[in-house]
């Protein structure tokens, strides 16, 4: 049954004997890969067609393809209302500052953990720094509530201890830029530093030995050996993140900020905006327009950046 299901779409792609030959030869392998192919078609490729809603006036009863066309009305509304500019700016802004801070910290942690003395100490530190990766954003949301809630939060307890006036963080939108930045790093530095550590441990020990003989100190070695050697990793990490620059980490924003209307101006990203309009079922067309714009632009950006990198140095490219 699985084979018959997947035949139509395969045939459309490759209509030659070669394929049939290969299929007959490796029938079992094709059957084994079929479940994943089917699932990917169902979970990713078919829903993609829903992006056509961006150009439609969505009516739930008529469905995705039955709804009437709306031309560019949805886009017009999204951008003219100012929402487009605001959520796009926020998404790019947060991704950039999160990218810079978390990658920089990860690199720092990786270099220190691989280079300092004390095996046990390093292991303990690494375990503790990696720990936040394992908990859900719901728990992180709890932490943030613990720290910043007005009446009982630790932050205000500390302020009170020093006889200072307690601060209601939830009424200061600009503070959340920092809170989001800090907790993003908090959650991801452990994970990302492992990637950099993998790159550092791959460096040939002979390079360092040669530098030792030449009398280089540790800072010089890091600057002239470690740093250039992990450059490919840095570039790949940057590439991956730039390709996602229009995608906000929904779970993070939603758990940190929640449905706090006061903070929307500074913390609303494309993904939280889409989710909110899904919940309220309002402006489906506009939501589809922003989804379309996000998906297409993301693809264009990653293809462009990858193309540029490929030109400069083929080995650094993603694909």
């Amino acid at each position: 049954m699985q084979t018959s299901n997947r035949e139509p779409e395969r045939v459309g792609i490759m209509k030659n004997h070669q394929f049939l030959n290969e299929f007959n030869k490796n029938k079992a392998l094709f059957i084994m890969i079929a479940p994943a192919v089917l699932l990917t078609i169902i979970l990713s490729y078919i829903p993609m067609s829903g992006l056509v809603l961006a150009f439609k006036n969505f009516r739930y009863d008529l469905g995705v393809f039955g709804s009437p066309w709306a031309g560019f009305e949805n886009f017009k509304y999204f951008f003219l209302s100012g929402t487009g500019a605001r959520v796009t700016f926020n998404t790019i802004f947060y991704n950039l500052i999160n990218l810079i801070t978390s990658q920089f910290l990860s690199m720092l942690v990786a270099i220190f953990i691989t280079e300092i003395f004390g095996k046990t100490y390093k292991k303990i530190c690494q375990s503790l720094i990696f720990l936040p990766y394992f908990i859900s954003w719901v728990i992180v949301g709890t932490f943030i509530y613990n720290i910043f809630n007005y009446e009982t939060g630790t932050f205000n307890s500390i302020l009170k201890f020093f006889n200072m006036e307690p601060i209601n963080m939830y009424s200061i939108p600009s503070a959340w830029v920092w809170i989001i930045m800090i907790f993003n790093s908090w959650k991801w530095v452990g994970y990302n530093s492992i990637i950099y550590m993998a790159a550092i441990t791959n460096i040939d020990a002979e390079c360092y030995e040669a530098a030792d003989i030449d009398g280089a100190n540790i800072f010089q070695k890091i600057r002239s050996i470690t740093f250039p050697s992990i450059m490919p990793t840095i570039i790949v990490m940057l590439l991956l993140n730039v390709g996602r620059i229009l995608r906000g980490d929904f779970q993070m924003f939603y758990q940190i900020v929640g449905n706090n209307g006061q903070l929307y101006n500074t913390t609303d990203v494309i993904d939280t905006f889409v989710f909110r309009s899904l919940l309220t079922s309002s402006d489906m067309g506009m939501t589809a327009a922003v989804s379309f714009y996000q998906s297409v632009l993301c693809l264009v950006i990653i293809l462009a950046v990858n193309g540029i990198v490929k030109r400069v140095n083929k080995e650094y490219a993603l694909f």
């Binding site: 394929f19 290969e22 079992a28 392998l29 084994m32 890969i33 479940p35 994943a36 990917t40 979970l43 829903p47 829903g50 992006l51 809603l53 739930y60 469905g63 720092l108 220190f112 953990i113 691989t114 280079e115 300092i116 003395f117 720094i129 936040p132 394992f134 859900s136 719901v138 728990i139 949301g141 709890t142 932490f143 509530y145 613990n146 720290i147 009982t152 939060g153 630790t154 307890s157 009170k160 492992i194 990637i195 993998a198 441990t201 460096i203 020990a205 800072f219 929904f250 779970q251 993904d271 889409v274 899904l278 489906m284 939501t287 989804s291 996000q294 998906s295 293809l303 993603l318 694909f319």
Partner: protein, 303 residues
């Protein structure tokens, strides 16, 4: 001999090395403390008497020790046990099927003699470059597949992760193809080779990817928020989220335990619930950490 042991063996330390170590120790210590601090506060908060929290806030050590919150949660544990059951079911089913599909697909993609392996790899990889986003998947799930209030809606979205698929592929690429060749000569079919030969040989890869998938299911609340409206079907994390954000969940506990809602230890109750939801992850963390490090390392090398 690695570089760090080389340095460790050197008796003479230059001034710059000492400075470097002082900076390194300070920064790592501060970061490690920042990472563990919220957990300690959470644990302490859950064991603090409610009036103490109201008066002094949370602290590192409970000012006034109390197991009131846990007593209350365990007095009427039906809802928690149920949420645990949902999470365990989703996690077990998702991890099993996810691992099965991932490993089987990765095996096919790792076969050098499979002509279209690159084409299929790109077919999977492309979904990470371009996808319709939450909206389109939501409409498709709810309107066309009728998955609202269905456990399938919690399992399907996390079943195949392309990143894990590629890591699994590199795990399997290290299996020598001569083993597969000789099994073929002995007359074994492809599926039999995969089950009898490849799976036992990829134990460490299966453990690693299995743990990644498992963690994803355990921590998932997002799909529950999108697709589950019946609170009897809430997984643990989403139930926790509800307790934190909505008074409705607290009032359910209040009515089932017979305590006035104004007398509920709301703050410590939230903390206790968070501890209960995270506890299992933190308990197994020391034992499984190395597998995650391994998985990330392999993913990093492949880029």
């Amino acid at each position: 001999m690695s570089y760090s042991t080389l340095v460790n063996n050197r008796i003479r330390m230059s001034k710059s090395t000492i400075i470097f170590n002082i900076i390194g120790y300070s920064i790592l210590s501060v970061l490690a403390l920042l990472c563990i601090f919220p957990f300690i506060m959470l644990l302490s908060g859950s064991f603090t008497a409610e009036q103490s929290i109201a008066q002094y806030g949370y602290g590192i050590i409970p000012r006034e020790f109390s197991t009131n919150a846990y007593d209350l949660l365990f007095k009427n544990p039906g809802e928690i046990i149920h949420a645990y059951g949902v999470t365990i079911f989703i996690t077990a089913a998702g991890t099993f099927f996810g691992l099965f599909v991932t490993s089987m697909t990765a095996y096919v993609l790792s076969r050098q003699d499979f002509k279209y392996r690159n084409g299929f790899s790109f077919f999977f990889y492309f979904t990470t470059l371009f996808n319709g986003g939450t909206l389109t998947i939501y409409i498709f799930f709810v309107k066309y597949l009728n998955l609202k209030d269905s456990y399938l809606a919690l399992i399907l979205p996390l079943l195949i992760n392309v990143f894990y698929l590629l890591i699994m592929r590199s795990f399997m690429a290290s299996i020598p193809s001569s083993i597969i060749e000789s099994a073929k000569i002995d007359g074994a079919g492809e599926f039999l080779i995969y089950v009898r030969l490849i799976l036992p040989l990829s134990k460490s890869g299966l453990t690693t990817i299995g743990l990644f998938i498992l963690l994803g299911y355990w921590n998932d609340w997002y799909n529950a928020m999108l697709y589950i409206s019946d609170y009897k079907m809430y997984p643990l994390q989403y139930m926790l989220y509800n307790m934190l954000s909505a008074t409705e969940a607290i009032s359910r506990i209040s009515s089932s335990s017979g305590i006035e809602i104004s007398n509920m230890p709301a703050q410590s109750l939230k903390m206790a619930m968070a501890v209960i939801a995270t506890g299992p992850v933190l308990l197994v963390y020391p034992f499984v950490q190395k597998y995650f490090v391994k998985g990330i390392t392999i993913g990093a090398v492949k880029g």
